[in-house]
Every structure is written in structure tokens, then in C-alpha cells.
């Protein structure tokens, strides 16, 4: 049979896929990369509603129709296959983007069919699931492709954008233009950065080697949706009557799942890119309901094993503490703070709730206006890893802000009204007298009380010392960490927030009006 080689046309389904995925990727990228605290963040819930794992976790936290995006993905998958992987998952689309760059600037890619060797995929995914069920929540950051993408943007791209912005802003200000202000950036490179970089490099290598192999080997969401897509109604099928087994479709298949020789498509691994549709000149491949065409039935003969020794954890790298301010205190403080675990953001309810739901997409870190939310490393270990923590050395939680709870797609941080949030006690301020300036230097300081939004830390005159010393009212402390951040003693703070494992309710500060009501009309000038 003679074949006429016509230039491959782009199929309309592929166009649609490209448009939708470009849209998804742009929105999600902007959400993570945006450092201007713009309006987009207000719509983060809508933008992220179709992210499978976050939506699933969120649904089990707070069942609601709006939180049922995962159900929509399930239905989509059962109808059309792994649409999520092709048009909704930012990590999948990102890999497509890498492939596109490679096609444009690199060598021409020729994919080849791989026998299904899914032991790694199921092994990895099964392990994650088992460990999660066994109560080890630290697996979550390794399980969510969306979170992988979020971390890459927050840890690798956003700093570059901010750096660029600040260069321009500083230059503009030097030139006398005050339209553009520099942006504060308070996140040091940490283990989280290394992990994000590792995932990025891994993706580069894997996509270069075998297209979307990551999605079919290291992605539990891909594994689950793959299982479902075997039963999908619409599927890519080879029409045995038209197909000449020329292999054009196999060559463009980024999931390496078309076996042109046997005229078979492995729908489990297919990521619905629809490239094959345009590649076929003979109309031998179609996207249609099940059993529209006759198929050759054959079984696999041999298995080629897929080996990849993948280090899942980066080396233990101590998190570098941010704090460029060189503060010279007359005498260094001596008593270390006693912290058990880091402070959880308000709305995180408890360690169990928070660590059981956070997949570490780091959107809250990106959205936090004061930068108090920072990626942890081993702070919660072994119960959690990389999970955002409140780092009061870097900053403190703004009393009038609920940003993190608004953006969290998994419900790890439950949405809070502002008034509710002001009564959440995330921890308690603990005072270490031996470190305090007032006691060691015998001079006034008061930085802690100055910053305290509720006056849970208040300066009270000590008649003996004739100085004002901090006094803590536990009931109204919200654990925001303003006192700890402001405290000038080093290396240890004289006041710090000891985290609650289960958040408590704080009382509302009761303020009595000052006693001296004067009537100004008849008042003489006091000088």
C-alpha cells in the first residue's frame, strides 16, 4: 500500500486543548507569581476549584457543592479521559510547554511506544497512599502535581521576577520617578527551594527523554485518573480498516502509549494531547465513543523495565534564617526559647487538621502580605515536611488580615471572617525576663508592647526599677508574633510565641475609656 505523506494538520481538538491549557496555566501562574497583591488573588478559589487533589482534600474538610471540583474532574475523566492532565494540571501543561520549546529549538522528537510498565507509577502512588493512611502526612507534598508547580513558581520564578522588578524600581527612584516602589522579599533559599529545583531539573530530564513520562511514573493523581480513564466513554481509537501501521501517530505521542504496530492505544497512559489526530494522514485514528472501531486484540509479550533511581528527598540542608539586620545589642541574650513546633497560621485549627491537608503548594506563602508565612523544612518533621509555618523572625501576622485562609485550596487553612480570626489564639507569648533589655540594660525598650495589637503585652511601670516592664495578659493574646518580631535581643528573643498544637479561642480585649474627660471649650492652654 502506498502512503502519501501530507504535512500533518493540527486537529481542532488539539487547538481547543491548547487554548484551554494556555488559559489554565496563565491564570495559575499569575496567581502564584503575582507579587503585587492584585485582584486576581481574590479569585483564587475559582481559579483553583478544578485542581484535583486540593479540591478532594477540601471537600473532605468542608463538604460543599463549590468544593466539588474533584467530582467534576472525575466525571470529565470518565467521559473524555485524562482531560485534567492535558488542560487543567499546571504541571502537565508546563511539561507540554517544555516539549514545545524543545520542538522549536532542539532536535526533532520521535517518541516510541513503551510497553506499559507501571510498577513505578503504582508502586510510588500506592506507597504514598499507604503512608498517608498510616498517618504519615509528610507524603502530601510529593503527591500533588499542582503543588509541585506552585512550589516551582514560588521558589524559583517569583524571586527572579521580584528581583527584576526591584532593579527597575530602584533605578526609577534614583532617577526621581516615584511611580514604582520596590517589593519586599523576605524568603531565603531553603530546603524547599532545593526541592523545587530538583523537581524542575527532573522534569527537564524526563521530558527530554520521554515526554510526559513523569505523569505516568511519579504522579499519584495521574495514576488514579489513568485507572479511571480506562473506562472513559470517549477515547482515542485506531480504526483497523484505515490504519496502515505507518507509525506517524506513535512518533508524536508524548505519553508513549500508541502501539502502531498492533494498532492499539493504551488509554490509561494517554494524556489527551490529541497530537496523534493531526498526525494521521489516513483518518486511521479517531476520538470517539467506545467500540466505534474494530481493534486488534493482542497481549503483551515482553516487559522492558523502567528503572529510575530517584532520590525523593534532598539532602538535609539547614534552613537559612532570614535576618539581614545586623543588630548590635549591648549584651547578647542568654536563655534560648523553648519551641516544640512552629506556629500554625490562624484557621489551621490544629496540627492534625493542618498537616493532614496541606499539599504545600505554597500559595499562602506567595499571598501572605507580611511574609510571616515561610516554608518550613524539618519544623514539623516527621509529621510534615515543607509545610508553611509562621516565622516570627521574618515578620508577624497582620492583625487585620485573613489572606492565607482565603487562598488555601485544600482547606488546610479554613476561611475566616476578620472578626473570627482576631479571636483565634495560635500560640501564647512567653516572656523570658533574663533576656529582656529592661532587665539586662536597665533602660526602657517596649518594642514588644508597641507592636502588640491587643495589648496582651503591656508595659507597666515597675515602681522599684522606675522602668516599664512587659506584662502579659494570656487571655487576649492571639499569638500573632508581633512582639517576638519586634524584640531586639539576640541571639534569643526575650519574648516569643509558643505554638498551640490545637488553636484556642482568645478573649476580646476590653478597653475602658481614659478617665480624664475634659471639656475643651473652657480649658486654658496648658502652657
Amino acid at each position: 500500500m502506498s502512503q502519501t505523506r501530507v504535512k500533518a494538520k493540527t486537529h481542532s481538538l488539539k487547538h481547543t486543548r491548547r487554548i484551554i491549557s494556555a488559559f489554565s496555566l496563565t491564570l495559575i501562574f499569575l496567581l502564584f507569581a503575582d507579587y503585587s497583591e492584585s485582584l486576581l488573588i481574590d479569585y483564587s478559589r475559582q481559579v483553583l476549584s478544578l485542581q484535583f487533589l486540593p479540591s478532594l482534600i477540601n471537600f473532605f474538610t468542608r463538604p460543599a457543592l463549590m468544593a466539588a471540583g474533584w467530582l467534576a474532574v472525575l466525571i470529565l475523566t470518565l467521559l473524555f479521559g485524562r482531560i485534567y492532565c492535558s488542560a487543567l494540571c499546571p504541571l502537565g501543561i508546563f511539561q507540554d510547554l517544555l516539549l514545545r520549546f524543545r520542538r522549536r529549538w532542539g532536535k526533532k522528537i520521535r517518541y516510541r511506544y513503551d510497553k506499559p510498565s507501571l510498577w513505578l507509577l503504582y508502586g510510588f502512588s500506592g506507597l504514598m497512599l499507604l503512608l498517608f493512611i498510616a498517618g504519615i502526612r509528610a507524603v502530601l507534598p510529593f503527591s500533588d502535581p499542582y503543588a509541585h508547580f506552585g512550589r516551582m513558581v514560588v521558589q524559583l520564578i517569583r524571586p527572579l521576577l521580584i528581583y527584576g522588578h526591584n532593579c527597575i524600581a530602584e533605578a526609577a527612584i534614583t532617577a526621581g520617578f516615584y511611580q514604582l516602589f520596590p517589593v519586599e522579599y523576605k524568603m531565603a533559599a531553603s530546603a524547599s527551594t532545593i526541592f523545587a529545583l530538583f523537581i524542575f531539573l527532573l522534569l527537564l530530564i524526563l521530558t527530554w527523554w520521554k515526554g510526559r513520562i513523569f505523569c505516568n511514573s511519579l504522579c499519584p493523581v495521574g495514576a488514579f485518573l489513568g485507572l479511571l480513564s480506562q473506562f472513559s466513554i470517549f477515547r482515542l481509537q485506531i480504526d483497523g480498516l484505515s490504519c496502515s501501521s505507518c507509525g506517524l501517530c506513535e512518533r508524536v505521542c508524548r505519553a508513549n502509549c500508541i502501539d502502531s504496530e498492533r494498532q492499539k492505544i493504551d488509554m490509561e497512559r494517554c494524556v489527551n494531547c490529541y497530537d496523534c489526530l493531526g498526525a494521521c494522514n489516513l483518518g486511521g485514528i479517531a476520538y470517539a465513543p467506545r467500540y466505534s472501531f474494530s481493534q486488534k486484540q493482542e497481549t503483551d509479550q515482553s516487559r522492558r523495565h523502567f528503572l529510575a533511581a530517584l532520590p525523593l528527598l534532598p539532602d538535609a540542608v539547614r534552613q537559612i534564617v532570614v535576618g539581614s539586620d545586623t543588630i548590635l545589642v549591648s549584651a547578647p541574650s542568654t536563655i534560648p526559647e523553648k519551641r516544640i513546633h512552629p506556629v500554625l497560621p490562624p484557621g489551621a485549627v490544629s496540627l492534625e487538621h493542618y498537616l493532614g491537608r496541606c499539599t504545600v503548594c505554597q500559595l499562602c506563602i506567595s499571598a501572605c502580605p507580611t511574609h510571616v508565612l515561610q516554608p518550613s523544612f524539618l519544623g514539623f518533621f516527621p509529621r510534615g515536611i515543607f509545610v508553611p509555618e509562621m516565622d516570627n523572625v521574618v515578620s508577624y501576622c497582620n492583625y487585620d488580615c485573613v489572606r492565607c485562609s482565603e487562598v488555601c485550596p485544600t482547606g488546610a487553612i479554613i476561611p475566616q471572617g476578620l472578626e473570627e480570626k482576631k479571636l483565634i489564639q495560635t500560640g501564647l507569648a512567653i516572656f523570658i525576663e533574663e533576656n529582656c533589655i529592661v532587665f539586662t540594660q536597665k533602660t526602657e525598650c517596649g518594642a514588644c508592647a508597641e507592636h502588640c495589637p491587643t495589648q496582651a503585652v503591656k508595659m507597666v511601670l515597675d515602681p522599684e526599677k522606675r522602668l516599664r516592664v512587659p506584662v502579659i495578659t494570656k487571655e487576649i493574646c492571639v499569638g500573632c508574633g508581633a512582639c517576638e518580631h519586634a524584640c531586639p535581643t539576640r541571639p534569643y528573643r526575650a519574648i516569643y510565641v509558643k505554638a498551640h498544637s490545637v488553636h484556642k479561642k482568645a478573649e476580646k480585649p476590653q478597653i475602658k475609656a481614659p478617665e480624664i474627660p475634659k471639656i475643651i471649650e473652657n480649658e486654658e492652654f496648658p502652657f
Binding site: P182, A449, I511, E523
Partner: protein, 342 residues
């Protein structure tokens, strides 16, 4: 041709770098210039070209000394206004002080430094009154200011403070510009020769580069300094204010006042936070006092404001120490004072 071009570029570059150096030298005058002194003619030429001819008065020298030479002994050192609304009160005070034109000359660059420390709405008076700030900016523009800049090194997140204090909008309405105070690169180190505890401080470039510096504190109670008024407000123009807290806060405030002397101190005591300052917890902390104090002397401004608050200024260490270091006059009887009731 190429040679000519390189030459021109080279010349231009050198000229520009010189300009920058001159501007620091002429305005800041903290450090002796390292390079050889420029010829007088060249210096004058370049200063005029650089638009600096009018900017020679350093904001760090008390304008009193300069203005005093021009006569104007009639104008009071301190004016206090009581009653009325912030904007008309300021109008009345400035009329008594000789108008803004006495302080701001045509084409000058003015820095207005209110207290914008907190992410708190104007009703709670934790920051300077936005109405007052707007009126101040307007007065400067009317007096012919080339540019009116406003900033603070805030305690809470800067952009939230700028917006929620209402000051950003007020400044824009008045025709001024907000400037950033949150990045260390904007700050330059200065020496404090008379300082006892504070020998050096990193201070915002705008303070050094502006021709006129107007300090606009708000009168509040303060947990450790007791009161925050004009001199305490300077903690918002330095980078490392934590050092002050750790090294005798009162002494550092006094030390710093020996080098930075605003041309005008405008104390907003319209709503006064009587307790739980400087941040405050609720509106219950406030007292409607309806006072405004305007003075060329920051120590005097603090003394008068402390009296309005009902505190004896002799009990506030930084006021006494600043006066002892010669930062200003703490005895109001030695000054001419104008009292206005609206």
C-alpha cells in the same frame, strides 16, 4: 567620529557622577568630600545647572538660624491652635507662623514625614491625621514646591499602612507623592557626633536630599517612651530602629535629635490616644482634644504637646536629655508663643 562619540559619552558620565557627589556634599554635608575641592566658578556653574542653586540650605541645620538673619523676629517660635477642624486649624497656625512661603521657596523639594506606622484606619488616630497631611501638602505646593514627598518606615506592612491610614489618598489629593521607606537601599549612614549612645544611624536619602523637612507626628501615649511626639517620630526615618530599643531608647531619641532638626514640626493632637499607645486597641483609647502645635523647635513642640497630654515634660527623659544636648529649647518661657482659639 567614534572617538568623538566616546569622548562625549565619557564627559557626560563624569559630569553626571560629579553631579551626584555635589548633591550629597552640598545638601548632606555630613562627610568631608574625599576628592579635591572644586573651583568655585565650576562649582557654582554646576550647581546652577544641576538645579541645586536653591537647595543649598541643609535640612539638617535648623532653619531658625538661617531665617533669623533675614529679620522676622515677629514670628513666633511656636503656635498652638485649639478648636475647629484639622485643615482650618493648620491654616490659622501657618498664618501666625508667617505662611508656608517662609519655609518653602519656589522650586524646592519638600519632605513631609507623618506617622504612618500602623495598618489602622484614620478614626483610631494611630497615624497622623490625613486631613492635616493633605492640607500641609497643599500649602507646600501653593508655596511653589517643586515636589512634595511623603514616606514613613512603617511598623506594619508598608503598603497596607499607606493605604489604610488614608494618607496615601490624602497626599495624592494634595498633589504630593508617596515614596517607599521599606528597602534598606534607600538609607545612608550618617554620623552623630554629639550622640552618647547613638553614634551612627542609617537615615533615609530623602531626608538628606530634600530642601525642606516637615515633621508631622501625632501625639500618642507610648508604652516605653511614655509619649510619642516629634522627636520620637524620627524613628520612622531611620532603618535600624531596633538598635534604639536595645540601647537606651530615650538616649537614642535625644542623640538623633542633635543631627536631624526639621524646619517645621507640626504636631497633630486633634484626636489623642491617651492609653495603649502607640498602636492602640480601640476608639475607647482616644480623647478628642482638637489641638495643633506648630513649631520650628522640635524640643519645644514636644514640651508643649506633653502639657496638652497632661504629662509633665520634666518626667520624660528623652525631652530633658535632648534639651541638655542642645537639640532645642525645653523652657517654653524662653520662646515666643502664639496661642489661637478657633
Amino acid at each position: 567620529m567614534t572617538k568623538d562619540f566616546t569622548f562625549i559619552v565619557n564627559e557626560a558620565f563624569q559630569y553626571l557622577t560629579k553631579q551626584v557627589k555635589i548633591s550629597y556634599f552640598a545638601k548632606g554635608s555630613f562627610k568631608e568630600p574625599e576628592k579635591k575641592r572644586m573651583e568655585r566658578r565650576e562649582f557654582l556653574k554646576k550647581t546652577i545647572i544641576g538645579g541645586l542653586g536653591i537647595g543649598l540650605a541643609s535640612p539638617l541645620f535648623n532653619l531658625n538660624q538661617l531665617v533669623a538673619a533675614d529679620t522676622i523676629a515677629d514670628f513666633p517660635d511656636l503656635t498652638a491652635v485649639v478648636g475647629g477642624e484639622p485643615a482650618p486649624m493648620f491654616d490659622a497656625a501657618m498664618a501666625a507662623m508667617g505662611g508656608m512661603k517662609r519655609f518653602v521657596k519656589k522650586g524646592q523639594r519638600v519632605l513631609v514625614k507623618p506617622n504612618i506606622g500602623w495598618d489602622i484606619e484614620p478614626e483610631r488616630a494611630a497615624n497622623s491625621n490625613p486631613e492635616l497631611v493633605r492640607r500641609i501638602v497643599e500649602h507646600c505646593i501653593e508655596a511653589g514646591a517643586r515636589e512634595v514627598m511623603v514616606f514613613d518606615h512603617t511598623c506594619d506592612k508598608w503598603n497596607r499602612c499607606y493605604v489604610n491610614s488614608g494618607i496615601e489618598q490624602a497626599v495624592k489629593d494634595g498633589g504630593g507623592k508617596m515614596a517607599p521607606g521599606h528597602s534598606e537601599s534607600s538609607y545612608q549612614e550618617i554620623e552623630i557626633p554629639k550622640g552618647l549612645r547613638l553614634k551612627k544611624a542609617k537615615i533615609h536619602s530623602l531626608v538628606l536630599e530634600s530642601d525642606v523637612f516637615i515633621n508631622v507626628p501625632v501625639l500618642k501615649s507610648h508604652g516605653s517612651a511614655q509619649l510619642t511626639i516629634a522627636m520620637k517620630n524620627h524613628m520612622g526615618i531611620v532603618w535600624d530602629r531596633w538598635y534604639w530599643h536595645a540601647n537606651d531608647l530615650h538616649q537614642c531619641i535625644a542623640d538623633f535629635a542633635t543631627v536631624v532638626k526639621p524646619h517645621l514640626n507640626i504636631v497633630d493632637a486633634y484626636q489623642v490616644m491617651m492609653q495603649n499607645g502607640p498602636r492602640g486597641v480601640s476608639k475607647a483609647d482616644l480623647k478628642l482634644a482638637k489641638y495643633l502645635v506648630v513649631s520650628t523647635d522640635q524640643v519645644a513642640a514636644d514640651v508643649a504637646s506633653a502639657r496638652i497630654f497632661g504629662t509633665d515634660p520634666a518626667q520624660i527623659p528623652y525631652i530633658q536629655r535632648a534639651a541638655a544636648l542642645g537639640a532645642g529649647e525645653a523652657v517654653l518661657d524662653n520662646l515666643s508663643i502664639k496661642r489661637i482659639r478657633l
